[in-house]
């Protein structure tokens, strides 16, 4: 078909596109899901200290984290899938962080931004948690005090790869669990709850 330009009059007809054929691809649904999840993170910025300022720089226009599909910052844990812990977490904040993490829906990932969140940093002190992995699991550690925006972006890019691997693992685990459940149903004739438990 020859390329055409759009008529100035509005019509309901679809605009003819200069294509060489119909555009469609075949894939598995899981691959589509993986692709969508890893290219559109909804981060929850748990920012407490200096790192939060660098986080702001990262999402601001100069560095623009939107280029990596991670700019939809959500302050509700129910709407987020990655938790970016930016700043020192002390013993007073620890129960809060744990609660926020627990409130996030699965699957979820955690980025520990900066030396304090990773290890307590240079605050080896009476009120500072020596790394958030004391209470929640961490997927990516970004070093620095604070990390440069480039460092945080690199961490997010690493997380993208990990998300795909993790989702594959989760699916595998899910299938096994399902099979085990079906077997249990076949053997005992009861519900699968016991077997799952």
């Amino acid at each position: 078909m020859e390329p055409t330009t759009q008529s100035k009059e509005l019509t309901n007809e679809p605009i003819p596109q200069p294509t060489t054929g119909e555009s469609w691809i075949t894939s598995r649904f899981e691959a589509l899901e993986d692709w969508a999840q890893r290219h559109s993170f909804w981060p929850f910025p748990f920012g407490t200290a200096c790192c939060a300022i660098e986080f702001m720089s990262t999402v601001s226009s100069h560095y623009d984290m939107a280029r990596f599909g991670s700019e939809v910052v959500r302050f509700s844990p129910r709407q987020s899938d990655i938790l970016i812990v930016a700043g020192t977490i002390n013993d007073k904040m620890a129960p809060v962080l744990k609660k926020i993490y627990d409130q996030m829906a699965d699957p979820k990932w955690v980025v520990s931004m900066g030396a304090c969140a990773c290890s307590g940093g240079f605050y080896r002190a009476y009120h500072v948690m020596q790394g958030i992995d004391e209470i929640i699991p961490v997927d990516v550690y970004v070093p620095g005090c604070p990390p440069s925006p480039e460092g945080l972006m690199y961490g997010i890019l690493q997380l993208k790869e990990k998300v795909v691997r993790d989702r594959a693992k989760l699916r595998k685990a899910g299938r096994k669990e399902k099979e085990a459940g079906e077997e249990a149903v076949g053997e005992t004739g009861k519900g699968g709850e016991e077997a799952a438990a």
Binding site: F46, G47, T48, A49, C50, A52, I53, E54, M56, S57, S60, S61, H62, F75, G87, T88, N90, D91, K92, M93, A94, P95, V96, L97, K99, I100, C116, F122, Y123, R124, A125, Y126, H127, V128, C145, P146, S148
Partner: protein, 572 residues
């Protein structure tokens, strides 16, 4: 060297007789006061027509176990000491009160009836040292969590001893409120924060609402208390500098300057002109950065997101200059005791000139968008207003105080570095509300640019960037590798650190939030004995529940942004 006693001193010293003992202080007059007369003396100091100490700057605790044990240099004193720093704005006088307290019974009267600023300072002294203040209405921990045992700044507390807080122990404020006559709605208590964007991630507000109106509230802080003062006591003098970066991390360079200046005064070191020049310029750039964050965050909290992007761009540009100087963007640690960490980059002038061109259009844009913006005016004019007199009584300093009509600026009242040689205005507004706080900050950015302009016109002063004193500053790398003497000095300085002569000193700079003071005690060893920071936003934030009473929750959000409370500095 001694300093002049306050004008009111003879009258008061006569009145209180031997219950006040004046001491020689190298920086400001110091009185050792018996605790029985503290409350009366405080009232006299505030109200005496020749004294008028209207501003309580700071209350620091200190622990001297050696004194109580009767060591050689003990002087037979008591173990604890409460140190008050007072300032008289009309007379520009300063005074330090030291109140010795026995170990068995560290009790002293609360000074809240005289200075409201004492409220949180007393709670902090209780938390850190276990001092008990008689008459304090709400004497509970402020920085450490509820399950914490002991008082961490006492010398016998292990710096790494932690306590675990479980969820069931979290503090839940109780409000005992009389029923109002015109209550239209059922009262509701809501909790905002600490993990809430309007609370900037680290404060917790519990408010009782009558419909939309806040009738009572309580704030809880300490979610970023990271033991700055205890950490200082376990590190040598130079190693404290990176910790000071993380106080007010929006303008970390000013903190560096404040700390280094105080130590330099104690050492009696003269900083080379080049370092002084660069410190003044970079302090002003840092002030611009800080005001950008504050105003940007305030405006984004009320929904004006565009301004946030506009105001963050100048920050990125200034980061470029700081990065060229020292390699870091945010937490710079560019100062050293005696000067700067390294020489200025060759393109310093060009970069600074470029910044002076880049920054003003951003300020113009924001002012065009906001100054007459109907929504912004409705959200800010008359909101959380405070009179100048009240603000001083609450211990306010800095832009927030100047928005209430009190023209107190450390750069003007007690000039340091090059501030007495440049021409600048101290912007003052009189509304005392959220809008005027915003206006003061916008005006100050322009004044800062003016100061930088004048200094750049003078050119970079000749000479070294750090003092040429091998007991304070490391010799140049070249010399360390080639000369025996330099290598020995290098070794001594790295292994032993700087030896600061015994004594105490309070010194201040104008931080981006107000008077940033450092009260430092040295016992002559290679580590500080005690460092107390006077954080400007600590007394300001203690006013928050009073400011938001009677307003709506959305007013509280706008108010918090305008106060520029930085958690790192607030809680240290």
């Amino acid at each position: 060297m001694t300093v002049d006693e306050p004008v009111a001193a003879p009258a008061l010293l006569e009145k209180y007789g031997d219950r006040i003992t004046p001491q020689d202080g190298p920086d400001q007059p110091t009185w050792v006061v018996r605790r029985e007369v503290l409350a009366d003396l405080a009232r006299d100091l505030r109200d005496h027509p020749e004294a008028r100490f209207d501003l309580l700057l700071d209350l620091a605790g200190a622990d001297y176990p050696a004194r109580a044990a009767g060591g050689p240099s003990s002087g037979g004193g008591e173990r604890f000491e409460a140190v008050y720093h007072l300032c008289s704005l009309p007379r520009k006088e300063r005074l330090r009160l030291k109140v010795p307290l026995p170990e068995a019974d560290p009790v002293l009267p609360s000074l809240i009836p005289v200075w409201k600023a004492a409220d949180w300072f007393e709670r902090e002294a209780y938390d850190m040292f276990g001092f008990r203040f008689e008459g304090h209405p709400n004497l509970r921990r402020i920085l450490c969590h509820e399950a914490f045992q002991g008082h961490p700044l006492r010398k016998d507390y292990d710096p790494a001893r932690r306590w675990i807080l479980t969820e069931d122990k979290i503090y839940r404020p109780q409000f005992d409120l009389p029923e109002g006559e015109d209550d239209m709605f059922e009262r509701m208590t809501i909790n905002i924060g600490p993990s809430h964007p309007a609370m900037h991630g680290t404060f917790r507000l519990v408010a009782v609402l009558d419909g939309e109106t806040i009738v009572a509230s309580d704030v809880e802080i300490g979610y970023l208390h990271r033991c700055f003062e205890k950490m200082c006591e376990t590190h040598v003098w130079q190693q404290v500098i990176p910790y000071t970066d993380r106080l007010n991390y929006c303008s970390s360079f000013i903190n560096n300057v404040g700390y280094c200046r105080t130590v330099e005064k104690m050492l009696g070191v003269e900083v080379p002109p080049k370092a002084v020049w660069a410190r003044t310029i970079l302090s002003e750039f840092s002030r611009i950065m800080d005001h950008c964050v504050c105003n940007g965050a305030t405006l984004v909290d009320v929904g004006a997101l565009t301004n946030f992007w506009y105001l963050f761009q100048p920050r990125e540009e200034i980061y470029g200059l700081l990065e060229a100087c020292c390699g870091a963007r945010l937490t710079v640690s560019y100062c050293r005791i005696g000067g700067l960490a390294q020489d200025l980059p060759p393109d310093f002038m060009a970069r600074a000139e470029k910044l002076l061109e880049i920054i003003p259009p951003f300020i113009d844009d924001v002012e065009k968008l906001m100054d007459a913006n109907r929504i912004w005016l409705d959200r800010s004019v008359g909101i959380a207003a405070i009179s100048g007199e009240d603000a001083v009584n609450w211990g306010w300093t800095g832009p927030c105080l100047r928005a209430s009509g009190v023209a107190y600026d450390v750069r003007r009242a007690h000039p340091y570095d090059l501030y007495d040689t440049v021409d600048f205005e101290v912007p003052v507004y009189y509304g005392g509300d959220v809008y005027d706080r915003y206006r003061v900050r916008m005006a100050e950015m322009r004044e800062s640019l003016k100061i930088i302009r004048q200094l750049l016109d003078r050119g970079i002063p000749e000479g070294p960037h750090i003092v040429d004193d091998p007991h304070v500053a490391l010799p140049p790398k070249e010399a360390c590798y080639n000369e025996m003497e330099a290598m020995i000095y290098h070794f001594k300085l790295i292994m032993d650190g700087i030896q600061v002569p015994a004594g105490e000193r309070y010194d201040m700079v104008e931080g981006a939030n107000g008077e940033l003071g450092f009260y430092i005690v040295s016992d002559g060893s290679s580590k500080p004995y005690r460092i107390k920071v006077r954080p400007p936003c600590f007394p300001i934030f203690s006013t928050f529940p009073t400011l938001i009473r009677g307003g709506s929750v959305s007013d509280a959000v706008a108010t918090l942004g305008g106060l520029n409370v930085i958690a790192g500095e607030l809680e240290r």
